[in-house]
Amino acid sequence: MDGLTEYFDAYLSLFEEFDVLGAFWVNIQLAFWAAIGSLILGTVLALMRISPVASLRWAGAAYVNIFRNTPLTIIIAFGVLGLYAQLNLILADDFDLNFFRIAVLGLSVYHAAFVCESIRSGVNTVPLGQAEAARAIGLSFLPAARLVIMPQAFRGAIAPLGNTMIALTKNTTVAAAGSVAETAGLMLAMIEFRSDVILMIFLTFAVGYVILVIPIGLLTTYLSKKLAVAR
């Protein structure tokens, strides 16, 4: 019994020693900004891939195939070592904020490829007749996409988009490779200095991510049912 209390006290002392919640907060912010960035870029890419202009379709497909098939770690490392260290791309004067923004950029360009493909799968749920009817009343490509195709495509894409957002949330840990002080980096430091409670350290972060991600899954399941287009 004493041993257990001792172990528990040792575990609790972790939270005084390390800012676990602060680290999670960094990941939440990474996920939030990268979600916005990847949704915007991914929507533009999806529009390019369904556009009537062959060169835009080609460019969209090339982007997706390059970024979807490149490991995220390499993209983040390239951001820091290539864009920042070599090419002097500076996104903020503050040292830490700069790395944070580079990580958001890397996460956004990577996940935009998956967002694009999710939206394209949503576009495939929209019958061809919807686009034909839109064209028949005189809407050209962009208005037809904005008013008729995309609103239905997004509703059909909620579940795959949710999967992409879940992956994005967990992939924010890769930002550790870009020198952002977040959970994965903190966990390694904790393991190094507090190997006495190593199992609890793993468990803490695992549970932390489950708590973060479950609401995304619940929300997307709810929305995909509620917003489904009746045909």
């Binding site: 007749g129 009817a133 064209r135 028949a136 009343i137 005189g138 050209s140 287009v229 045909r231």
Partner: protein, 263 residues
Amino acid sequence: MTSDSSASTVPASNSADGTEPLVSLKNVNKHFGELHVLKDINLEVKRGEVVVVIGPSGSGKSTLCRAINRLETIDDGDIAIDGNHMPSEGKALAKLRSDVGMVFQAFNLFAHKSVLHNVTLGPVKVRKMKATEAKDLAMSLLERVGVANQSDKLPAQLSGGQQQRVAIARALAMKPKVMLFDEPTSALDPEMINEVLDAMVALAKEGMTMIVVTHEMGFARKAADRVLFMADGQIVEEATPEEFFTNPKSARAKDFLGKILTQ
């Protein structure tokens, strides 16, 4: 591009003598791969004329109808609406399409929008009409086709016949010069066919120029000025409904009528 801009000045001279066709197809050809679906089609439809296109399935009649507003591209030949040659793409094509109403076999109402918004979308976004004005127009058109009481519902909540009547109202809201109907009753349950045909007959009586692909011989008899019989991508026979149904000339037409009229 150059031919488009010069053509757009033509309508004034067209309407002067009143005999220029509203829709004109000259030597139109189209292939689907090896299949020659439209073979050298020549067709002129006058203002106010109602033309019914009939023929066996696979004869190219739907393709012909869809080619008129370029939902199907053509390989060669020329299609003109009111003297304006069909542009191949872009804003000019969208502009011309806005003058050509289209009613589809599968209705194709915008599934995420209410009945009312289905009808107001074109006037507001294409014609830049004020929202209140568009709503009045939409409600009067929905009233005319008998579905005004359904205006707040989503398309999926309506019967097929009601959906198709909304689709007619949606097309009319653009104040089109000509209406194309691509087998408008083929996807309907039998008891709903007449409500749609009645709306179409009323439209024909009001003088709308119509090109109707259909299997409804009753509609052809009642409302058509001219019947086109298509087979194997060609217009085989062209006559008034009376003449066509009582005295078809070609063997293909006799055979076709024999099969459908004995039902």
